[in-house]
Structures are given as structure tokens and as C-alpha cells.
Symmetry: C2
């Protein structure tokens, strides 16, 4: 080790890892060391730049709380979170997308056809579709967790004015694999910009906007769990999501309607829908385990 040099240090690092180390950990560390060391060698990183990087990490630590994790946000805006989603997404099902930091456990059970809109303002939307196997068979007893922003771009939990679990629900499909609910259109919003991630975005001229979306976690016995988001085709930020969450197959049409014809009678508020509303039809396809 007294002969360590910029060309041998990667091997020196690997030589420190004892043979009994878990094989997968060894493999991950080998790749990590190769890439981090190459990064320093290829950039001839200066001490000032190295210190700046460490400063960004340190301030990420300072601003992070269990509710607002700046390291996740760094991973998001660097495309790492989406890339992890993509390398783990089976080819034959609905693609996964970022979980994000706003999921909470314990949302109320709402029956198929139930209402999430409540007293929320904003354009009404009827969202429905089926949960299917890759063979096209409906899945009975699939569970959907659903969450979204209110019309102001904030989630309940971020916004004191919203009731607990506002615009959050859990729903279980029947024999036909169908889910259905009424809600309001979610709104685009910005990722937090008051920390080091905001500094990085500003330094590179990037905006912090995410296109509006509905979050879903879809689980069913014998199927791979799906964490995803669906995005309206007319959102202005669809092609420039700050966290790289959009996939072609996750874009849905918001169809404008002025008649309830064709809307399932399962929908509790069918007769109370406003004159104009939107309909979204989106099927989830779950790969088998």
C-alpha cells in the first residue's frame, strides 16, 4: 500500500475487501469504486471541487428529516431513482415510476366507485380501469393505494388546510378486476428548491417542475408489486419532468365529457357530476412473480 498510486488505488481498495464478504456486496463495491475513481481520474477533480461536493452532501444532511429527504431528491433529479425503477421494471407489465416522498400508510378503504373528491376544488375526474395479468385476465382482490395532490399542488401532510388522508385511498378490485373513483385533477408542482438540490438546479438552468400525476401502488397475490404514476397527456411539463418519471406507457388521456352516458353505475357520485368533467381510462398490467 505504500506504493499506492492513482493507477493502483482501485485495486488497493478491492484488496482490502476480505474474501468472506457477501458476493453481491463485493460486486457492488467493485463497480462503485471503479466508477467513482474513474470519475475523479477523468475529471482531474480539484480539491475545491471535491470540497464543494462534500459540502453539498453535508448540507443535504442538515436539511434532511424523515419527512423531507434531500438525498432521495438528489437521486431523483440525477435520474438515479428513475433508472433504478427502469432496470427493475419487467418488460411485460405496466412500467414502474418513482414512489416519491409523499406516500403514507393508513389511507382509508374506499369501495370501487367511491369518491375522493369530497370538498376539494378543481376539475372533476372519473378515473377507472382494470388490473390485469400479462395474459389479459382480470385480477380479483388486487389492492390499489392511490394518492395525489390537491388543486394547489400540495399533498395532504404538506398542507395544514387539508384533512388527514385527503385525496388518499385504498381500493380492492372485485371479480372483474375493475377499480373506479371520482376525484379532482391533480396539479403540477415543484420539487423543494431551498436546499443543495435547488442550488444544483439553478446552476444548470433547470426548472423544478413535475407534471401532474396520480400515484398508485398496485399489489396482488402471485404478481409483482407495482409502484407507479400516471400522467395526463396535456400536461405542460410532460416532456420535462424534473425527476425523469414519465414513460410513454404511463401517459393517459383526460377525456373531457359533458354527459354521464357510459359512466358505470358503480360510481357513487355519478348523478352529482358537474356539467363538464374528465374521464380517465387506465389499465394496470401486473407481471407474475
Amino acid at each position: 500500500m505504500r506504493t499506492v498510486s492513482k493507477d493502483t488505488i482501485t485495486q488497493s481498495f478491492l484488496d482490502y475487501v476480505v474474501e468472506e464478504t457477501d458476493e453481491r456486496l463485493k460486486f457492488i463495491l467493485e463497480k462503485l469504486a471503479h466508477h467513482l475513481h474513474d470519475f475523479v481520474r477523468e475529471t482531474d477533480l480539484t480539491h475545491d471541487e471535491w470540497r464543494k461536493g462534500l459540502e453539498l452532501l453535508y448540507s443535504a444532511g442538515e436539511i434532511s428529516t424523515p419527512e423531507r429527504n434531500e438525498f432521495v431528491l438528489f437521486s431523483d433529479v440525477l435520474g438515479l431513482s428513475s433508472l433504478v425503477d427502469m432496470v427493475n421494471s419487467p418488460e411485460d407489465g405496466t412500467p414502474s415510476s418513482v414512489l416519491g416522498p409523499f406516500h403514507v400508510l393508513g389511507a382509508p378503504d374506499v369501495p370501487v366507485g367511491g369518491d375522493l373528491k369530497g370538498e376539494n376544488e378543481g376539475p372533476a375526474v372519473v378515473v377507472g380501469g382494470r388490473v390485469l395479468t400479462t395474459g389479459g385476465d382480470p385480477i380479483e382482490g388486487a389492492q390499489l393505494e392511490i394518492w395525489q395532490t390537491a388543486d394547489n399542488g400540495l399533498y395532504s401532510g404538506q398542507d395544514e388546510k387539508q384533512p388527514e388522508y385527503n385525496l388518499r385511498a385504498r381500493m380492492t378490485t372485485g371479480a372483474d378486476g375493475r377499480y373506479l373513483f371520482s376525484t379532482v385533477r391533480p396539479a403540477p408542482y415543484t420539487v423543494p428548491e431551498d436546499g443543495p438540490v435547488g442550488e444544483l438546479l439553478r446552476a444548470t438552468g433547470r426548472h423544478p417542475w413535475r407534471p401532474s400525476h396520480l400515484h398508485f401502488i398496485v399489489t396482488a397475490s402471485g404478481q409483482r408489486s407495482l409502484v407507479t404514476e400516471v400522467f395526463p397527456s396535456d400536461d405542460p411539463y410532460l416532456d420535462e419532468d424534473a425527476v425523469f418519471g414519465v414513460r410513454e406507457k404511463l401517459v393517459m388521456e383526460y377525456q373531457e365529457r359533458s354527459s354521464t352516458e357510459g359512466i358505470s353505475d358503480d360510481l357513487a357520485i355519478k348523478s352529482d357530476l358537474p356539467d363538464k368533467f374528465y374521464v380517465v381510462d387506465f389499465d394496470f398490467i401486473l407481471s407474475s412473480v
Copy 2:
């Protein structure tokens, strides 16, 4: 962006960086994105592994303070700090080595030949040498900052029992470029193991020891500043420094002596040296700016 895929996401990330962005930042981000994305693609990183990585960063943030920075420590044990030192080290001078977290400003001025030993226990050492240009000319007025552990492996600042600035000094060379002081042998010590870095070391069977060393920052007008450490040739951890700081050219001999013959009369405590002591002779070569 709705067509983002695992093969196109790196380009999508780069496309977000606006043209007016600082060229060097653009280059660094390009390399960073390539290497981080390749790391995820080549490992097919799972969500659990991704979460584990983020957890390590989050707990690094939790345990870090301005005095104990776990991100620096991660950089150290991954070999990044040493690599940054090496890519920035001129070929023709004394190599640099890690600054470490124990440097403090404001250490007292000690004249050439002064004593740092004071009331400290441990084997006595006389450390001396010259500060030279790459052409071999002595540098007058070069300033050395010197710091080291006590015999218990702790630095003043870490150890309440040590007086402020214990075993720390600033020294300025005269016309002959010489520095000289008496002290005690520093001791090997461990990097902190109570945080996520300790977890990583244990998972890979690595020990946390650093070989004993003397720290120096050497500066002189018209020369490149040098941050370095020198290590005794007989230290048991010389070939397995946890932070990759050792270089062949930074190894010095601790020569055992029982006579003060040949010791410069400049040394204030020359007549008070114990029966057995060590002598270290080490020259610093500063590259020009």
C-alpha cells in the same frame, strides 16, 4: 422525455443542462451522470440496495457535525480523498496526502529548534529537515504547520486531558530552509467506527487503523502549497492504511539514538534528551506555482 428509457436517461439528463452553464460544471456533471448511471445499469441495482445506499447517506448526515464529518470519512475509506490528492500532486515535489479532520487554525509559533514535547509521555523524537525548491535550493521563510497525536492516539481537541494546541505548532524556516523540533512519537489510531462508515468497514472485514504519522502543511511564496503526512517505516499499519494515505516518498526512518552527537545546537532541549530517542530527517520539496 416521455420516451426516457434506461439507455436514453443519461442523454436526457445532459439535455436538461442549459447551454449557458459553466463549462467545467457541465463537464463534471456529464462524467458524474455517466458513471452513476453506468453503476446502476451494470449492477442492476435493486430498490432495496438503492434504499440501503440512501440510508447510509442519511445516517452520515445524522452523525455529522462541523467537527466530525462522516462524508469526508466515506471519501477517505473509499480512496477518493487520496485519489484527489494524487491527481493534484505535481510529479516533481513531495507528494501530498490527506488533510484529515484534525487540523485547527491558530497553533502557536514555535522557533526552529523549539519543543513540542512538553509534558507529553512517549518516546522522544527529534524531527528536522529542509524545505527545498525542486532545484534543491533551500527556501527561506517557508511556513510549516505541524500537528500530531499524543501517545494515546488522540489529537488535542479530541482529548479533554490535553492542553489546547498540544502537539501543534507553526514554524518558519530561516535562510538555510531548515526546520527542527523535538516531540514524542505519534501513535496509530482508528477512524471513527460508530457511524455508517464503520458499518461498511465491518461488512467488508476491514480494520479502521491508520499508521502513525506527522501532519504538515508547508507553504512558501511562489511555491505550491503542500498538505501531507509522513509515516514511520516501522509502523505495523504502513501497508494497510484505512484511508490510503501512505506513499513511498512519505515514509521516513525513525533512527534510534543514544547520543546527541550530530544533533543541531539549535535544538532547545538538546541537553535534556532522554538516554534513548529517535531522529527523523525529512526534506520537503515544493513545486513552483
